[in-house]
């Protein structure tokens, strides 16, 4: 593996592995509350942050974290109010975010179509040593928050009203989740790209839950799948000269398909060997005629 003699490859791999672990650890909560696509929307908003950073000649990662976090908290506050207009408000925010980003990037000194593509789809060579430090610190923070607060976050995502009646700080936990979504999207932007970040939050969870029975085991399995897909994705993309984000996502999808087919086959084989005999009680009174 001569490739890993290059520092930029080591940085890309390190960044990808951190994201491979952190994205599903957060994504499982988003999937649980059926907000699988929220990461995609926040990714759109983060592009405006990238534009702001490039325009001001500041680190685009930092400015993207800030803008995406503000956007994510805004989305959470709209969701909390539970109005039907929330759906439209989200659409306006997301399209405003991506359009603002494209315009701001075009106005900046760094203006060429290539730089935009790097942020949208990720690249192996753009992660600077400063970037990797930011990614490592923020990635570790996301992981610690998602693991340490698992019981509380699970309770909020599983049954928000029950969590409220339990006296849990529901709004604070929701805002924690919104901010970590923004942080995860932004740190993943370098290697995976803003348009594919959401896939790494969702696909490993979807793959894991084909074979798991509980929340905890789904989380652990999803993190393993995310880690493996991201690691192999970077290596394959370097060898095959393909964009790392898309390669990683295709690998994760392949894992999903393999697990789904494998699990279906296993269930079929088991059903043939042991036909089910347990019958649920009838939920109605059966009257003799």
């Amino acid at each position: 593996m001569d490739l890993f003699q290059y520092d930029f490859m080591m940085r890309a791999l390190t960044g990808a592995l951190i994201i491979g672990l952190a994205a599903p650890a957060l994504g499982i909560y988003l999937v649980q509350r059926r907000l699988s696509l929220i990461g995609d929307g926040i990714g759109h908003v983060a592009l405006t942050g990238v534009g702001v950073g490039l325009l001001l000649n500041q680190s685009p990662v930092i400015s993207a974290v800030i803008v995406a976090a503000v956007g994510a908290v805004g989305v959470e506050l709209i969701r909390e109010r539970g109005r039907t207009s929330g759906d439209l408000a989200l659409a306006l925010l997301f399209y405003g975010g991506i359009a603002g980003g494209v315009v701001l990037v075009a106005l900046s000194d760094d203006a060429n179509s290539n730089s935009l593509v790097q942020y949208l789809f990720g690249s192996l060579i753009t992660t600077s040593p400063e970037d990797i430090a930011v990614i490592a610190v923020l990635g570790a923070a996301v992981l610690v928050a998602m693991l340490a607060f698992r019981p509380a976050l699970f309770a909020v995502c599983n049954d928000e009203e029950y969590a409220r009646v339990s006296g849990l700080p529901v709004r604070a936990l929701n805002i924690l989740m919104a901010v970590t979504t923004a942080v995860t999207v932004t740190i993943a932007m370098r290697t995976v790209g803003l348009l594919l970040v959401s896939a790494l939050m969702v696909i490993p969870v979807a793959a894991a839950q084909q074979v798991t029975r509980g929340f905890r085991s789904t989380m652990a399995a999803a993190m393993v799948i995310g880690l493996v897909a991201a690691g192999i994705g970077v290596v394959v993309s370097a060898e095959a000269d393909t964009p790392p984000g898309a390669t990683t996502v295709i690998l994760a999808l392949a894992v999903f398909v393999a697990i789904t087919i494998g699990a279906a086959g296993w269930r079929l084989a088991r059903r043939r060997a042991h036909p089910p005999h347990e019958v649920e009680p009838p939920d109605v009174v059966l009257q003799k005629v």
Partner: protein, 259 residues
Amino acid sequence: MSVVTVRHAAVGYDGREILHDVSFEVDAGEVVAILGANGSGKSTLIRTILGLASLTRGEIDLFGTPQRKFREWARIGYVPQRLGAGSGVPATVGEVVASGRLARRGIFRPSGSVDKAAVRDALTDVGLLSRIDDPVTTLSGGQQQRTLIARALAGKPDLLVLDEPTAGVDAASQEAFAAALGRFEESGGSILLVAHELGPLRPLIDRAVVVHEGRVAHVGPPPEPAGHHAEPDHDHVHPHAVTQPTGICVAPTDRIAAN
């Protein structure tokens, strides 16, 4: 001592009042049922007591403290009508019941052996310990309801608040949780429940509060069922998909729109 005190409560959504003037109390150790037809506002009433809907007029005290200032939520175990919507990811029965410990433990402390023991005790109480590692979605409706009761019991509350615990639940599960509620009452707990139909819970009830058109129409022993519900072999265990012609009291039966 009064566990729940409601004085002249009025509740409305979007400018339309659902409850006009409701007053009643639940004393310590008492089992109180709020009865009423569909759309009478009985579920809204307990949601307001729990702080999930806000009062437009009146006052609510919980354990002698005004609801706004009440912080000891671990003393209340809430059993919603059904499992929450957040079921996109599998969760085991044990994991759902463990959520009931958070009110006692707080969000910063990790789960310990006391919590694990409380989860097992609660599941034993509702007869579901053998299903602790099964995904909740593989349980029948009645077993899911018992899981939610176990979640509330796991927090060792002083007051259980149940929203329509018997709706759409098989007879075996109704008996199992009537027994669990009976043991909870014997150990000194108070119970406030909303029901359309009392079924096997009837012997437990000390007092019934009948809500009709947003007001209290009756307080006292559970009234005898009227109409269709009074038939001797009427065993009301089917889900309330179809509106019954008459409920416990004579009430308009056309449902009020959800919003």
